[in-house]
């Protein structure tokens, strides 16, 4: 007991400046995770972005970067940015409206809890299953398409979008994408919306302000950084998603689908390494996007103190 009592004050300083054999044994405890991260995160990440600089035989080259001069790759990159931006902005606005409506519900009530759980399910609902849901809704035999046909619209936007089925085009991808973007917006933007203090509304009212001045002078300016931060997050989410697009579109059209095309291409030698160039392009884009996000996040957090 006395030994424990004397040992206690020493350990309360978190063992700082107490080098011992134990300490090195504890260091060993970190190695399994470190090895796992090096083998399955660090090495693959370096291989992915580095493979663009090498030929199939392993010698250094910039030749693969000619892939970036390919007009179809360029238009697919622009298409990916466009799809990501469109779904981020529309998803952001609709999601923010839902957050606004949720302010009128009881925070601990059943409705709010149900919408919270539904949002966290749907924000994760990407991929093959989401593609199925939209094929049976807006595809050729989809419930909405069939209903439109029976209502007299033999040719409608879903079965005749520039002569094709809308849902199998890059523009049509925005429909399933919004299905996970709006819930993600609700999840990320709701904390900022809840951070609007009631006292600000009262201050506005006592100073003779209307609800219009409340939103133009208080609400929008305060929420703006959080809103744009969340929109950037949605942009990154669309930009990096792959499975939904892969399940709906068999050719190219998006940069992530071009990576698939290059990897699976058996005909052109060295195309696998061109996939590395596109991977690098995606990572660079993501780093820029995440940098913008962290800047806006810093501004948004000012009001949460």
């Amino acid at each position: 007991m006395t030994a424990a009592a004397t040992a206690a004050p020493a350990t309360t300083t978190r063992g700082a400046g107490k080098p011992s054999r134990r300490r090195s044994a504890v260091w060993l405890g970190l190695t399994p995770f470190a090895i796992y991260i090096i083998l399955f995160l660090a090495i693959p990440a370096v291989l992915a972005v580095g493979s663009g600089f090498f030929t199939k035989t392993g010698s250094f080259t910039f030749d693969n970067f000619s892939a970036l001069a390919d007009p179809s790759v360029q238009s697919d990159y622009v298409g990916t940015l466009g799809l990501s931006a469109a779904t981020a902005i529309i998803g952001g606005i609709v999601g923010a409206l839902v957050c606004f409506a949720l302010l009128g519900t009881n925070p601990t009530g059943g409705l709010r809890t149900a919408i919270d759980s539904a949002s966290s399910v749907l924000a994760q609902f990407g991929g093959v299953m989401l593609a199925f849901a939209f094929i049976v809704t807006f595809g050729l035999n989809g419930i909405i398409t069939q209903w439109l046909i029976q209502s007299g619209f033999e040719k409608n936007v879903f079965n005749d979008f520039q002569g094709n089925t809308l849902i199998y085009s890059v523009v049509g991808l925005s429909l399933p994408y919004l299905y996970f973007q709006v819930p993600l917006m609700v999840l990320t933007f709701m904390p900022a919306m809840e951070g609007l203090k009631a006292t600000w509304g009262e201050a506005n009212a006592t100073l003779g302000g209307t609800r219009f001045t409340y939103w133009t002078r208080i609400g929008f300016p305060i929420l703006a950084p959080a809103f744009f931060g969340s929109v950037i997050l949605l942009f990154a989410n669309s930009f990096s998603s792959y499975a939904t697009a892969a399940a709906l579109i068999s050719q190219g059209g998006l940069i992530s689908l071009d990576i698939r095309g290059f990897i699976n291409s058996e005909t052109v030698v060295g195309h696998q390494n061109a996939a590395g160039v596109l991977a690098l392009l995606m990572v660079v884009t993501m780093i820029i996007v995440m940098y913008l996000y962290s800047m806006l996040e810093r501004r948004a957090s000012r009001w949460r103190r």
């Binding site: 350990t11 309360t12 978190r14 399994p32 399955f40 291989l47 972005v49 499975a243 992530s256």
Partner: protein, 281 residues
């Protein structure tokens, strides 16, 4: 609330309009999936459509076994991969997080950064690196779908890290472990009887989220040409679209239950804490 409204609170009418419109738009694809699985035959010209549970019964008809075999194989593979991925989280991530909290708090930021990297790097980019890496993995372990757990474990890191980290932040692990140590507990007892029970909620959330991510994972499995639930779904859709959608509906319900459970784990815990607070003087 209905009297003068200050600030951001919406009017009841605008609240209801927004929630109902968005709610209806979001429920349509789910209902469309259920309606699709109940369709029998093609609709007639007049728009008539027969309904029944035929496609559900077909799944268990032995005559169709060869058609559905890849699907059941994929489900089985995904469940085993989920088990291995959970093991990776419990054996590699969890002890590291506790160790860093107790002994190396200076590494906390670094660990968080590492665990969130898989969100910043798109999975399709990581896959470009996983393909050569798995040529080595296949030489060591053979080309089995179960080795996918290593790669999927990486993309699960952010989802597993967050609940455990927030649980660790809420519990005074350092104080608890020092108290237990000064009362004569061995390190094993500290871990097993003090720290882990206090982290139950975070660990359970991490496990459930990991299972949800593994079951929904498509990108890695498809590039590494392994049969999992999602790749099998896409395959079966070409021969029997009904079976694909039925399984998608079931998976959606399953994941929904998982995520509701995660929410529940939180509230149960909250209830217990408050009760304990009331009891202690």
């Amino acid at each position: 609330m209905s009297a003068p409204r200050f600030g951001a609170t919406p009017s009841i009418a605008s609240r209801n309009i927004i929630l109902i419109v968005v709610g209806v738009v979001f429920i349509v694809p789910i209902l469309a999936m259920i309606q699709f699985t109940l369709r029998i035959g093609q609709p007639t010209d007049k728009g008539g459509q027969q309904y029944g549970v035929q496609h559900y019964l077909d799944l268990f008809n032995p005559a169709n076994e060869s058609t559905y075999d890849p699907l059941f194989q994929g489900v089985q593979n995904s469940l085993v991969i989920a088990l291995f991925t959970v093991l990776i989280i419990l054996v590699l991530l969890l002890p590291t997080m506790i160790l860093i909290e107790l002994k190396f708090p200076q590494f906390r930021k670094l660990l968080e950064f590492v665990c969130l990297i898989p969100i910043t790097i798109p999975t399709v980019v990581l896959v470009v690196g996983f393909i050569p890496a798995y040529q080595v993995v296949a030489q060591i372990f053979g080309s089995t779908p179960y080795t996918l757990a290593f790669a999927i474990g990486i993309i699960c890191l952010p989802y597993a890290f967050r609940p455990i980290a927030s649980n660790l932040a809420a519990v005074e692990v350092t104080t608890l472990s020092e108290a237990a140590r000064s009362l004569g507990a061995s390190w094993f007892e500290v871990m097993w009887r003090v720290i882990l029970p206090n982290l139950r909620r975070g660990i359970l959330s991490a496990i459930l989220l990991t299972v949800a991510v593994v079951l929904g994972e498509y990108t890695i499995a498809s590039f590494l040409s392994q049969t999992t639930f999602q790749t099998a779904l896409l395959l079966i859709q070409q021969t029997d679209p009904y079976a694909g959608v039925i399984f998608a509906v079931f998976a959606l319900i399953f994941v929904f239950i998982l995520l509701v459970l995660i929410g529940r784990v939180g509230t149960f815990r909250g209830g217990r804490v408050s009760r304990r607070k009331r009891v202690t003087p």
